[in-house]
Structure formats: structure tokens, C-alpha cells
Symmetry: C2
Subunit: 541 residues, 2 copies
């Protein structure tokens, strides 16, 4: 998701969740200036028909800028009803928070359980895509599971982590960058996987050496003073583990010969450094070596102990009374006073619900096919919203990566379609584990794999993974895959278009979901988007 | 331990454990060539009086060079007795493995429990130094503990990890480098702590920008071809997150404004990059930014769930029948046929044990005061062996670092004496946690703190930690400290001298312990040293 993250980070903040925060903050600022009618300033088409804007939330407790739903008065939603479409993270967040504000909430969820793309696969679970069905054949054990959707939480995803704390969900560390894992390019180093620490170390060493050479040749004298030069040469020595003469002849940081296989006793010896020309010939190495520097990908990252769906289950249990399961929405309409939704219940019976407000968290890919009264602009943005075609597959295997290769968690990279191999960050030392044989996030490869049958996918993944770990075919079995493009109520991995119109209400209908946040593809984004939707409803109330 | 690691890595392999492996390998090679009397080749002074050398171990199973005790024939020690002094990791490893080889083993341990420096402090435990005693006042909870000695396991410490697997010890990830933790220099950036990700990111950005500038000025044309230049410029763009023009104006990798405090909603904005001149003016930043690149410090690192002493307890339970506790050794002697040791039992009664062999794992600092028959060379090396003066202190506190600062595990650095602040890598989300307020590894600071009373240490640590986290004084309490220099049966943190004579037997006495390995200060080193001792005894048998 490197490219994705760069895009998010570079996106104009105001076009996404920032706009929501800005709107809320603007309202507060206006209120502080004695301008009470904040709602109409937010562009709501129904602003004229609703009561005066509610009082703004109190100032945040300690001078910190905040935009939490709890900032709104507890009774702000009394006597108001809200229908929430979708019991994913955003929908459940909205219900959980709006109940605290006095709203009467109902959630319609198309499936038999909540969580949306927050999905963990264990023994006996099924993955039912639109044209195939698979059953998980893993053994039954606490640590034998596959997180099919979100799998990691950045340390600054503080709202999600706050809910984990509030709900008592045990967390453990997720390793994104394991220097003992491997990188594999079919076109470089003879197609042999390289241990990550050597890529990292020799990249740093070569960069430091070249810069030191240039500085020693006085090439940067226009910019650097004599003191700067002395200081930066010293810094480069540490950064790249250079020799005293600012040369680079390899480093103990790269490990020792034979380290990719357990049993090498050659510690204290150095491995021969990789050639700079090979390290720079293929962008694969530079992209992968910088992956865990990304905004969302840096350590510490976290995961719930026992599976990501611990979060889904914790939310679900708290909004269970408000949730109607197996309710498939067929129409979303505006009424004179609010909204009307028609859905089929679990017996196929059409049912109509009228509420004051509706929060739509249904993915745009699915929403596009539901009859609605949305404005043409809203409809157009929904119809054109792009999603990734994320694919994952898990296999049960002897933990050969731990026992034979000293790999404990983290990710190996390959330039083949399977992209990533994930090793479990839990259950260390157990006999078997679930290894993620592929994580394809988008692009042509994602669509290609989605269009294969489950058996074809597993065969292809086995074959590619075997090019990284030659024991993969023999050791890993019981493969099960998920192609989010083909999951019936998702039809995609995560949104990738820049949202605009969908960030604004359409009469009393507001929109939410990870795709409408600046953290697309992350649960924290779903939560921030829910907060945005709550702010909009409060301001419309 | 950066400097320490560099030293270890640079040390000639053959002067340390490599010598042992070399010896064993040499024996096998000689055997393969039909030269059977390997023992005398190892320099044993008693080689002439023992039976012919045992058959060499079988070749390793899969072509991998190995030097595991299990490679020796199972009956190689039948009818032979070994006395092991010290039930630390090396002593217990020796007993556990030598029993498998047929030796009759006895361990003498001075204290009432095993583990040596593998020590975890929980509610009610005492720390009894030579001139003070402290009781741990932490609350009783699974996650409220302080690892007073070793605390992390490198992913390539495969023998220790192998025992964890064999003994069924649960492991979890230890985070050494948390990009959300802080770095604090009293002399730079106005003494304000900086978030690690900004130091890392701006360091990379500035280095990449400067090198790109030099390359674009053709300063490296002697070394780089046109293709190289193009490729490396592209690589630098990714490495440093440079602009398209190879400039550096900050990066989303550095996070967002206000990120050091929970509640900032300013994602999507960039922080202003730190000035290169400040980043290079103080070696503090460069040393700390490169710490987790070190050979022993790279991810993945691991720890036993529930405390490092899970390892000590697992070993202890397996050698319990062979261990005499509270047995303080007073004499170590040579006899005509083996060794004689005198110790005081728990009632102070002197007792004598005669065995064929003796393995001495007592730290050199303690061993120097025990009457012995060692050769003058062995005595001299023992007397001059240097140890660090490691100091640690733990405090119970509300997890303000998680709740208020989004810090989940890892280490913050300061240039004050306390050096490091560690956040627990477990129990995330709980109300309270044990925060390590100081980890001083050696140097003048270590001795200074060792010489303070426990109360003085805690006061000083509180004061320094408060300069990093201004809430420390108010939130953290119940401080308890350990100065390994003053622990009666250790008298030091870990060995730092280069071993030489102690790697060779003295008659039927052999020596072991972390200080005699190339991984000084690590449990893996203690294990490798035990394997070395076993090889020596086998070759003497």
C-alpha cells in the first residue's frame, strides 16, 4: 500500500475527513463568535427545515483540538431516529456513539454477522464469493486463523485503539518489517531471495559511502560549512557503518554467512556486501526497503490477540439490540421529513423503515446497484468510485520459517503477483501456523486472481510462493483464498477515489465508510468517517 | 549496547566461541581423515590420562554446519561425573544437554532459585544487593513485572529460541524500535523530546537530498555511469521521500503536527522538517537512530510472555533433581583423577564433592575470590575480567504513554544518565503498566548509580525521566532498582573483556558463561558457551 499511502498523505486534507473536522471546528468557531446557525453553512439542502443548530460541543478538555462525538451534548439526539445501513466498523461506530448522544439507532446488516471486511477465518468458516464457496480446513486452535481483511493497526490510530481499550480487547504487536524476512526479485541476484537486513544495510552503507565521497571531494562546499562537513561525515559513519576512511566493506548489521538457514555458526564473519549496481537496477528493492517507513506502516503496529474480528465482535455485542441481520436494502428514499428505506428481511419479506436520518455505509460498489433518490452528483460519485481488488490466501503449514529460517513474523516480498508472504506474529514456537501465501492489493494482479477459481488461485500461489520458499509446496496446504472484488456485500478491497460530494449530506442522508476518509483501507478511517457522519447528522438535527 | 555490539562483531571469531566450534570441527575433520586422537590436539593437559578420544559426532543431517551437543553419541559420557558451578542459563544448559550424553551431572547454585541474571521482579519479590534490600510493591497482575536482566531475544538466537520451542514457552514480540517513541537530547532542539519517526525520516531525507545534489552536480561521475546515476536518483527519491526535483521539504513519514499527544486531528498536514545542522550537531541522534540496525538489535526480537524468567523456570524444572540450592562454593581444586569442590550448604556445613570434571559458570567477578588451583594464566584472566555496571529501575504507572502519547512499547532515548525509558510490550490497553525508567548499561553512570542508595537512585531517575515525560513524577511510583554490580553472586552486568585462556580447559576444569562467548551479555551467548564447555569435556573424556 505504499503508493496508496503516498497518495493519501499528499491529498489535500480539506477534501477528505479534514473537511469534516474543519466543518465541525468552523461551527464551533462560529458559535464562539455568536453566529448560531452553523448548519446552513455546511451546505445541507435541508438546513432550512430543521430546528436551530444545536449548541456546539464544549471546548476540548486540555487545549487539544478534538472532534470526538462525545464533545456534543449528551441529549443532542433525543427524539431523533437514525437508520444506519451496514454493520461494518463505521456503521457500528456510528450506532455506538449516537446512542450516547440520545439518538434512536437501527442498523440494517445484509449478512448474518457484523464486521464487514473485518473478517477472520477459522476452521469450518466459509468464504462465499459471488461465484464460489470455500470451507476453511485449518485445524482448530487459537492461533490458526487468517485475518482476511484488516490485519494491523498503526500506533497513531488512536480512536480504534481507544475502542480496544474501552472494550477490553487484548492487543499484541504486529511486525511489519522483520529484518530476518526475505526479499525476492525474479530478475536480480539470480532470482535468489535476499535477507532483508542485508538489503537495508548495504543500501545504507552505499548511500553513506557515496555521500561521504562527494563531501570529501568538496562537492557540497557551497551548502556545507567545514563544521557541517565534519559532523555529517561522522553521522554517515554511524548511519552506514562505514570504515574509518568512509569506505564501505560490508557490516555486521547485514548478519553472518548462512544466516537464512538455521544452523549456521558463522557469527562474527561478515557477508560480502551486495553490489550497488544490483541494488539500484530494480526499483523493487528500493520500494520494499522503504515500505515500513510509510506513514501508516511504521512500528509499533498492533493486532488483537486471537484475530482482528475480536474488534468486530466487541462492537457487535454492544449494538446487537439495534441491529437487524440478513436485511438486504433495496431502496433508499428521501421523504418530506426524513428518509425511507426498504429492505428484504431474512425471509425475503420487503419491509419499510422511516427515520429522521439515514447513514449509508454501504460500499460504493454495492450502493451503485440499490435504487435511491440521491442527487445526480451523489449518484455520479458513487457510480465512478474505484476500489482495489485485494486478494489474500492463507495456508496451514509446519512453521518451517521459524524452525529452519529464524523468521518470526513479518513479511517477505516478491516481485511476483503474490507480492507478499506473511508469517504469523503470534503462536511463535507452535508446531503449525497459518502462513499468508499471498497478499495482492489491487492492480491487474488482483483482478486476475479474483477471476480465477479458488483452486486455480491456490495452485498459482503455491507455485509462486515456492519460488521464495522452496519448501512451500511440500509444507503448506489447506489453502483458502478471498478476493474482495467477489465478496457479495463488499465487491472490492477499499476505496481509492478521492471523495468529494459524498462528504456532504444529501438532504437527511449522510454517507460514511473507509472510502470516505483520508485513511482509506484502514479501520481508523472507517471510524473517522463515522465521526464525520455523526457531526453532519448533529448539525442537521 | 551499540558500541559493545560493534566490538563483538569485529572481534576475531577464532578468539571466542568460534575457537570451540573450530576445535570441534577440527576433531571431526581429523576423524574423517583417520586421525583418531583428537583430544590431545585440543591442548588438554590431561589428554594422556584419559581413554582414547570418543568417536566424532555424526555428520549434520542436511549439510548444514552444526555444533550441537546432540551431535555427540548418546553414551559418550556414561560413567563420567560432572559438577557444574552455577545454575544460570549456561550451567543449566550444560546439565540438560550432558545428561542426554550419559554424564552424571550435579549443579551447585549459591542462591535459592536458578536463572542467574535471568530475573523477573514481581509484587513481593526482593532485590537484595550487597548493601541494601528492596521489596517490589507493584500490584499483583500478570503484566506487572520488571525483567531485571535479559529482556529480549534476537530472531537469530536460534538455540535459545529452540529451547523455548522444546519447553513450550510462549513468546511474543519485543519492540526495540518504536517510531512513535521519543528521543531527547538536553542540548538540541531546545531540550524538547522529538518523535523518533521525525528523526529517522529527516535524517534519511537530508542524506538523500545531499547525495542527489552531488550526483546532479556530476561530482560522482568517476564512479557512477549515466545509468547508475539515473537509477540511484530514483532510489534516493524513494529512500528519502524526495520531491520530484530531488529536494526535501519534509515527508508524511515524519507524521503529522501534534502527533506526540493523542487528540491531534491534523493528519494530512506535514510537520516542518528538522534542520540538518541540528541533526548532525550532536552524535546522540545518529547513534540512537542507528541503534536498531545493530546485529543483535534488529526486528524481529522476542520475549517470553509473562516474563523472561519463564525460561529460567523451564530449565530449572528440568534440572531440579541435579541441583543443590544455597550451596556457596569456597574451593575449586584439581585432583589426580578429576576435580574437587568444597561448598557450604544452606546450614553453613562444608561439603566436598569429587567428580571427573567441573564446569565453572560463576562470573569472573565472583570467581576471583574463590580459592582455587587454576593455572596462573587462568587466574590472571579471571582477575582482570571486566564487567559492565548495568542498572535498571521499574515503576508502576498509569499507561500515560499509550493513552496520551500513542506510544505502544519500544524505547525512548535520552542523553541523560538514565539513557533509556522502556514501555511494556505487553498488556497493551490495561490501566497500569511497568515502565522502565532507566536502563544504564555500563560506564561511569552505571557505577554512579550502583553507588547510590535505592532511594537516591529512584529520586534521580524520577527527576531525569520527568525531563522526557513531564508526567513521570506524578504518574510513576513504587520504583525499584537493580544494580548488577552490587548483586552478590553476579557483581556485574555482563563480561566485556576478550576471553582467551578461559576458553581452554585447565586440567579437567572448563569454564563457561556469557562472558566467554562472542555474544557477551546475551543468553544465547551463555548457551553457546555451554556448548563449548560440553565439547571440551567430551574431548577430555
Amino acid at each position: 500500500m505504499t503508493a496508496q499511502n503516498n497518495k493519501i498523505a499528499r491529498r489535500d486534507f480539506l477534501t477528505s475527513i479534514g473537511k469534516a473536522v474543519g466543518g465541525s471546528a468552523m461551527l464551533r468557531a462560529m458559535a464562539a463568535m455568536g453566529i448560531a446557525s452553523g448548519a446552513s453553512a455546511c451546505g445541507s439542502s435541508s438546513a432550512a427545515s430543521v430546528p436551530a443548530a444545536p449548541p456546539p460541543p464544549p471546548p476540548p478538555p486540555s487545549g487539544i483540538a478534538q472532534a470526538r462525538p462525545g464533545d456534543w451534548p449528551a441529549n443532542v439526539g433525543s427524539g431523533r431516529s437514525v437508520l444506519i445501513l451496514g454493520a461494518g466498523i463505521s456503521g457500528m461506530t456510528a450506532a455506538w456513539e449516537m446512542r450516547k448522544l440520545g439518538y434512536t439507532c437501527t442498523i440494517l446488516e445484509a449478512q448474518a454477522s457484523a464486521g464487514g471486511r473485518n473478517k477472520t477465518i477459522r476452521s469450518g468458516d466459509t468464504i462465499d464469493e459471488i461465484d464460489s464457496s470455500q470451507t476453511c480446513l485449518f485445524d482448530v486452535a487459537d492461533d490458526l486463523y487468517l485475518n482476511a481483511g484488516p490485519s494491523r493497526i498503526a500506533h497513531h490510530h488512536e480512536f480504534l485503539l481507544g475502542y480496544c481499550r474501552e472494550f477490553g480487547i487484548d492487543l499484541e504487536t504486529f511486525t511489519n518489517s522483520n529484518h530476518g524476512a526475505w526479499m525476492h526479485s525474479t530478475s536480480t541476484f539470480g532470482g535468489q531471495p535476499q535477507i532483508a537486513k542485508q538489503i537495508f544495510t548495504d543500501t545504507r552503507g552505499n548511500i553513506a559511502r557515496l555521500l561521504a565521497t562527494a563531501i570529501n571531494q568538496n562537492a557540497l562546499d557551497q551548502e556545507l560549512s567545514a563544521t557541517d562537513k565534519s559532523n555529517i561525515l561522522q553521522m554517515l559513519g554511524t548511519f552506514g557503518d562505514l570504515d574509518t576512511g568512509s569506505g564501505y566493506a560490508g557490516s555486521s548489521r547485514a548478519g553472518f554467512p548462512g544466516q537464512m538457514n538455521a544452523g549456521s555458526r558463522r557469527r562474527g564473519e561478515r557477508v560480502t556486501p551486495l553490489q550497488l549496481q544490483e541494488l539500484i537496477a530494480d526499483t523493487f528493492w528500493e520500494l520494499r526497503a522503504s515500505f515500513s517507513q510509510g506513514f501508516e506502516q511504521q512500528p509499533t503496529m498492533l493486532q488483537p490477540t486471537g484475530g482482528m474480528d475480536k474488534i468486530a465482535r466487541a462492537f457487535e455485542s454492544r449494538v446487537l439490540a439495534e441491529t437487524v441481520f440478513e436485511a438486504q436494502v433495496s431502496e433508499i428514499r428521501k421523504t418530506a421529513s426524513g428518509t425511507r428505506v426498504v429492505y428484504s428481511d431474512r425471509f425475503g419479506t420487503p419491509t419499510t423503515i422511516d427515520t429522521d436520518f439515514c447513514i449509508v455505509t454501504i460500499p460504493a460498489t454495492v450502493l451503485a446497484s440499490i435504487a435511491n433518490d440521491f442527487s445526480a452528483a451523489h449518484q455520479a460519485e458513487i457510480a465512478g468510485f474505484n476500489y482495489t481488488s485485494a486478494v489474500r490466501a492463507g495456508f496451514q503449514s509446519r512453521r518451517f520459517w521459524e524452525q529452519d529460517h529464524n523468521i518470526y513474523g513479518g513479511i517477505s516480498w516478491t516481485d511476483q503477483e503474490i507480492t507478499q508472504i506473511w508469517y504469523p506474529n503470534y503462536g511463535f514456537g507452535k508446531t503449525d501456523g497459518i502462513i499468508l501465501g499471498a497478499y495482492i492489493f489491487g492492480g491487474v494482479s488482483g483482478d486476475n486472481f479474483a477471476n480465477l477459481s479458488p483452486a486455480q488461485r491456490i495452485g498459482s500461489i503455491q507455485s509462486q510462493a515456492n519460488n521464495v520458499h522452496p519448501e512451500f509446496n511440500a509444507e503448506a496446504s489447506r489453502g483458502i483464498s478471498i478476493a474482495w472484488r467477489k465478496m457479495p456485500f463488499q465487491l472490492g478491497g477499499w476505496g481509492t477515489s478521492n471523495p468529494a460530494t459524498l462528504l456532504t449530506p444529501d438532504a437527511n442522508i449522510v454517507f460514511a465508510g473507509e472510502h470516505l476518509s483520508m485513511l482509506q483501507g484502514w479501520q481508523e478511517g472507517a471510524i473517522l468517517s463515522a465521526y464525520h457522519a455523526i457531526d453532519q447528522v448533529v448539525m442537521l438535527s
